[in-house]
Each structure stands twice: as structure tokens, then as C-alpha cells.
């Protein structure tokens, strides 16, 4: 089954002994079947919290406001039992670190059989046959033997392929890849990106790719949301974001990407300053303290989401349509 995803006014805060951490504030995102959506931002910007919320895997101390409509159902209002029924069936997550994502004392085949537990119509032998076929599809040779292997007997790249295969086995309408290449070396990263690009041709659900790597996003995605300090600051088509970025943060982020430099530099550029404290988010623009274009209203009034084109939006006082 495939359907559209729309999170509106989504906020997540974590209650901790040191106060509430407002990890995600008033986020609006949408995705349609067949689209690959990128979520990009530096560490701590809330991208993992966002996808964890979409996958209903937030810890017990998280408090969610707003809605996540998927296929007409508000995921944020479902009880724990119905959330669990969606996970591994409609929604699948490829987790961050392939080195630790699998149970170390169970074989790959054993775990992948268990991960298909929503498919009550299939017997064990059928499930194993599906695994072998899927492992072949993600480029793992000798699938039968690999199913009898334990996770530590596989390389990092191979484990990430297995993780992708595991997610695809469940035929999800929404596939979330949280930093799918961060834990891998550059060669492996290129291979996994290649694999994901191939898969998207045959897959007609929604794919959400989270990364802090601009290159990964540019190569894989149709649309991208740029996050900063728990907010979506800009969103739009990949082309628009990479070539016509309007939000000062997006522009600064792109300016810091070493892949975009033409000549050799003595010092890599950085964005001065650091992230605001999310236990007390600023009342104005979150980026204002670091922004070189900040002016009077930025410090006190939260900027509105300015619509620049059909799908291009930016949350900034300084931009005009």
C-alpha cells in the first residue's frame, strides 16, 4: 500500500531532569508516493528526532504535539499497539549504524525471518526464499551462505546492504534511511548510494533519507528539507535548494561543503557561533545569533514560512517571494 505522508505543526520535546528539551518545533513536511525526500542538517538539528517520530520509535520521555498523517491515519494519535503493527509493515527504518544494528547472537537469516512476522500468510520456507531473493537484489553474492552467517562475520558495507534488504522485505509504503552511509568508508558509501538509486527506480513508496552529507542528498533526493535547531528552515526541490538557496543558513551550509570548492583553501570555512540551547529556544529566529543578515525583528519575532515557489519555502524575515 502506498499513501502520502504529511507532518503538520509537529513538535517533540524530551522531558529530562534538566528541563524540557524542545528537540523539534512546528515542523511541516510532506511526501508523496514515488518521492525521495532528503532531510539535511548538522548534528543535533533534530533530523533523527523527526524520523524517529515518523517511525513511532520515540523514547518514553518524549512528548509529541501536532499530527503525522500517513495514508489518512494520524500516527501521533495511535496507541502503542497499533503503532507497532505499522512498524515493519507499512513503515520501515534502515538504522544508522550497520555495525550494531543486528543482534550479535542470531544469524542474519533468523533475524530477517523474524522481521517478516507481519506476513502471517507466508511460511518459514517462503520467508527464507524471499530473503535469498532480496539479498541477491541488494547485491549480496552467495545469499544462502550469508543467511547462515552471524552479523560479525559480514563487513560493514554488506551489513548495510542486509539492513536495506530487511527494510525492503516488508514492502513498506514509507522507507526511512537514517544516515545510511555515515558509518561507512567512502568506497562503501558510493556503493550504497548506487544501490539506493537503483532501488528507487523499482520502488513506488516514499523514501526519506537523512544525512548531514550534502552530496548524498543531492545524488538521491527529489526534494530536501534543511533543518536547523529543531526547525525546518528551508524546503524545496533539490535543484532549487542547491542552486537557489534563499535561507541564510542553507547558504552558509552550502558554502561550507568542501566538495563545492574549486580551488585549494588554507582554511575551511565554518559558520561562526554554535547551536542555541534547546531547553530555552529563542523567541525570535533560531538562526539569528549566527546570521550575518539578521536585522531588527529577527531577535524577537519568529519568522513565518515564506512560500517562494510551488514547493520552495523558507522560514526567514529576510527573504521575499
Amino acid at each position: 500500500m502506498t499513501g502520502s505522508l504529511a507532518a503538520s505543526d509537529l513538535s517533540v520535546r524530551y522531558e529530562t531532569p534538566h528541563g524540557s528539551v524542545h528537540a523539534l518545533r512546528h515542523v511541516d513536511i510532506e511526501a508523496h508516493p514515488g518521492e525521495v525526500i532528503g532531510i539535511v542538517g548538522e548534528s543535533g538539528c533534530g533530523k533523527s528526532t523527526l524520523v524517529t517520530a515518523l517511525a513511532n520509535l520515540l523514547p518514553a520521555n518524549a512528548h509529541v504535539d501536532g499530527s503525522i498523517h500517513y495514508n489518512g491515519v494520524d500516527l501521533a494519535k495511535l496507541d502503542a499497539h497499533h503503532q507497532r503493527l505499522l512498524r515493519g509493515d507499512e513503515i520501515a527504518l534502515v538504522s544508522q549504524d550497520p555495525m550494531t544494528a543486528f543482534n550479535p547472537v542470531l544469524t542474519i537469516g533468523d533475524q530477517l525471518v523474524d522481521f517478516q512476522h507481519h506476513r502471517k500468510d507466508l511460511g518459514r520456507a517462503q520467508k527464507r526464499a524471499r530473503i535469498a531473493a532480496m539479498l541477491g537484489r541488494v547485491g549480496i553474492a552467495d545469499a544462502e551462505r550469508r543467511m547462515r552467517s552471524f552479523p560479525h562475520e559480514l563487513s560493514g558495507g554488506m551489513r548495510q546492504r542486509v539492513a536495506i534488504a530487511a527494510a525492503l522485505l516488508t514492502d513498506p509504503g514509507l522507507l526511512i534511511a537514517d544516515e545510511p552511509t555515515t558509518a561507512l568508508d567512502v568506497t562503501m558509501e558510493a556503493q550504497i548510494i548506487h544501490l539506493l538509486r537503483e532501488l528507487r527506480r523499482e520502488y513506488n513508496g516514499i523514501i526519506i533519507v537523512v544525512s548531514h552529507h550534502l552530496g548524498v542528498i543531492a545524488e538521491l533526493c527529489d526534494r530536501v528539507y534543511v533543518m536547523y535547531a529543531g526547525e525546518v528552515v528551508e524546503g524545496g526541490e533539490v535543484d532549487a535548494i542547491f542552486h537557489d538557496a534563499r535561507h541564510p543558513y542553507t547558504q552558509a551550509l552550502l558554502a561550507c561543503d568542501p566538495a563545492r570548492f574549486h580551488e585549494r583553501l588554507d582554511r575551511l570555512p565554518t559558520i561562526p557561533g554554535s547551536l542555541p540551547n534547546l531547553t530555552q529556544p529563542p523567541s525570535g529566529c533560531v538562526y539569528a545569533p549566527r546570521c550575518d543578515r539578521a536585522f531588527a525583528p529577527c531577535g524577537s519575532i519568529a519568522p513565518p514560512l515564506v512560500k517562494l515557489a510551488a514547493s520552495h519555502v523558507a522560514r526567514c524575515h529576510a527573504v521575499t517571494p
Binding site: N103, F115, H117, H152
Partner: protein
């Protein structure tokens, strides 16, 4: 795996030899004349010399040790100095009672302790978790002989539900089972608490690992995550604990067998020590050490079986 097993068994044999050397050294170093202690102050010098000779104590210590192992290899553990019966027969008669007691206690402790630990983890932070926690610490703190004496008073003297002493009628299963209830419970009680705490602690650690999140992200039911994905890893420290703890289970059997006047190794060894019956002491210690060493090896092999990472370390 085979090389690993052979290495462990070799090490186990070395431990056996070292324990026996230490035992002989202890006998040699203990002040006073064992024959005088055993026979009393009015024994004749001839009688004393006879006893010393029968126990082989007139020989040099190293010779005694060599003789002991030479005989042990042929199955001869020496003779009881008082009844002249072979020590091996005495041990074999007493052993089944103790083993049944120890293994029943262990099985009960595992069957109750492991599920309690799992329940604690699944209901973490709730009243059930707190109650299990308090009860566990409570039963760990109560020594098994205290449990033995109070359960004797309650169930045997006041309520008259269970027999107070002995191991039950030979051949009568119900009577033997009834006689087993209180001694086994006395030993198991503290271990239920230990095991529940241990399982809870290692389970809590495992439940925080990323692979548990993966299992959750595929919507696996919580009971399956706990019983299959977490327990297989979390049980490993518990197996080590239980293997080491078996020594203490067997030594608490000594007290418990004394309280319930239950025939067994514990009673055999206390009587032998009290009467300075050295051949019986040595034979029993050898057998108990051998059992203890075998269980430790079995536990290590079981861990290697459960954790493929450990298996690979020893394969290479």
C-alpha cells in the same frame, strides 16, 4: 572449539591436582596429632601408630600425594579408617542425594529467577519492578540455614505438611519429593533473588543496544524481543554466575543437610572432618572438586555455544 575444550579440560585437571596438594599441605600443617584428636587422650601409643599408618600419615607428604593420585587413577580412593569401607562407595552412596538437592534448587532458582528478571525489565519503573527488586534483595540477605530452620518450624512442626528429617523412603518417589521440598527451597530462595537481579541488570543493558531498536523498528512484539533478542545475550553473565555459584550451592548443602539430617555429601564430609577421617575427607574433596570443575567447563562451553563471537575467538 575442540581445541578450546581440550585446553579447558587440561586446565581443569591441573586445578584438581593443585587442590589436592593444598589439602595434603593443610593436613600436614595443621598443629596437633590427628591420631590423638581422633582417638582421645587415653589411647595407647600402639593404637595411635596403627591409625597413623592406616591413614598413611607416616609417609612424606609428597609420597602421600603421589600414592593418592596413583590409587585414584585406578578408582581406589582409599578406605574409611573406622568402617574400612571403600571411600568411593561412601561417596557414590551420598552423592545422588546431594546432586538431586543441588540441581533441584538450581532448577527452581532458574525457573523462577529468570522470568522474574524478565518481568522486571518489561515492567521497569512500575510497582511490579519495585516489589520484585525489594523481594530479591530480601531473599538474598537471608542465609539458607535460617530459611531451613524456620521452614522446619512452620511446615514440619506446626503444620505437619512435610517431613522434618531424612531423604524419604527409598523407592517411594512421593515421599522423596516431599523430603526434598524444604531443603531445596532453603537453598534456592536466595538464588532466585540473585538470578532475578542479575538477569534484570544485564537485560537492562542489552535492551539499550541498537539491535533492540532494530527489532522494535520491525514491530516485533515486546515479549519476543525480551525472550529471544535480549535474553540470549543477557543470560550469558547469569550462566557464569550460576556456574561459580554452584560451589556455594554445594557448600550451603552442607548446612542444609545438617539441619534436615539428610544423608549426602555435606553430612559425609562434616562427619569425616569431626572424626579426622582423612581418607574420606580427601576422597570427597576430590570428587566435589571434579564436579565443580566439570560444571565450570560445561558453562564455558555453553557460553561459547550461545555466543558466536566467543566461539570464533576460540576457533582461531
Amino acid at each position: 572449539m575442540l581445541a578450546y575444550a581440550v585446553k579447558r579440560i587440561g586446565l581443569g585437571l591441573l586445578i584438581l591436582v593443585l587442590v589436592m596438594v593444598a589439602m595434603y599441605a593443610a593436613v600436614f600443617l595443621v598443629p596437633g596429632d590427628p591420631a590423638t584428636v581422633a582417638l582421645g587422650p587415653r589411647a595407647t601409643p600402639e593404637l595411635k601408630r596403627l591409625l597413623i599408618e592406616r591413614m598413611g600419615l607416616d609417609q612424606p607428604v609428597w609420597w602421600q600425594i603421589i600414592e593418592f593420585f596413583r590409587n585414584a587413577l585406578t578408582g581406589n580412593l582409599g578406605y574409611d579408617v573406622w568402617s574400612n569401607r571403600p571411600v568411593s562407595t561412601l561417596v557414590l552412596e551420598a552423592l545422588p542425594n546431594t546432586l538431586i538437592l543441588g540441581l533441584t534448587a538450581l532448577a527452581v532458582a532458574l525457573l523462577i529467577g529468570v522470568p522474574l528478571g524478565c518481568l522486571s525489565v518489561m515492567r521497569r519503573g512500575t510497582a511490579a519492578d519495585a516489589v520484585i527488586g525489594v523481594l530479591s534483595v530480601g531473599v538474598i540477605a537471608v542465609p539458607s540455614f535460617v530459611v531451613a530452620i524456620y521452614s522446619l518450624l512452620l511446615f514440619a512442626v506446626t503444620l505437619r505438611w512435610l517431613p522434618a528429617i531424612g531423604a524419604g523412603e527409598a523407592g517411594d518417589f512421593v515421599s522423596q519429593a516431599k523430603a526434598l521440598v524444604m531443603p531445596a527451597a532453603a537453598i534456592a530462595l536466595g538464588w532466585i533473588g540473585y538470578i532475578a537481579r542479575m538477569v534484570r541488570a544485564s537485560m537492562m543493558e542489552v535492551m539499550g543496544e541498537p539491535h533492540i531498536r532494530t527489532a522494535r523498528s520491525f514491530g516485533l512484539p515486546e515479549w519476543k524481543i525480551v525472550s529471544k533478542y535480549a535474553l540470549r545475550i543477557a543470560i550469558i553473565p547469569t550462566i557464569s554466575l550460576v556456574a561459580v555459584g554452584l560451589g556455594s550451592i554445594l557448600s550451603s548443602a552442607v548446612f542444609v543437610e545438617a539441619v534436615f539430617a539428610r544423608p549426602g555429601i555435606g553430612k559425609l564430609i562434616t562427619d569425616a572432618v569431626n572424626t579426622r577421617n582423612y581418607p574420606v575427607v580427601m576422597g570427597t574433596v576430590l570428587i566435589m572438586t571434579a564436579i565443580y570443575v566439570s560444571i565450570t567447563i560445561a558453562a564455558d562451553l555453553l557460553i561459547a555455544r550461545l555466543d558466536p563471537r566467543v566461539r570464533d575467538v576460540f576457533r582461531g
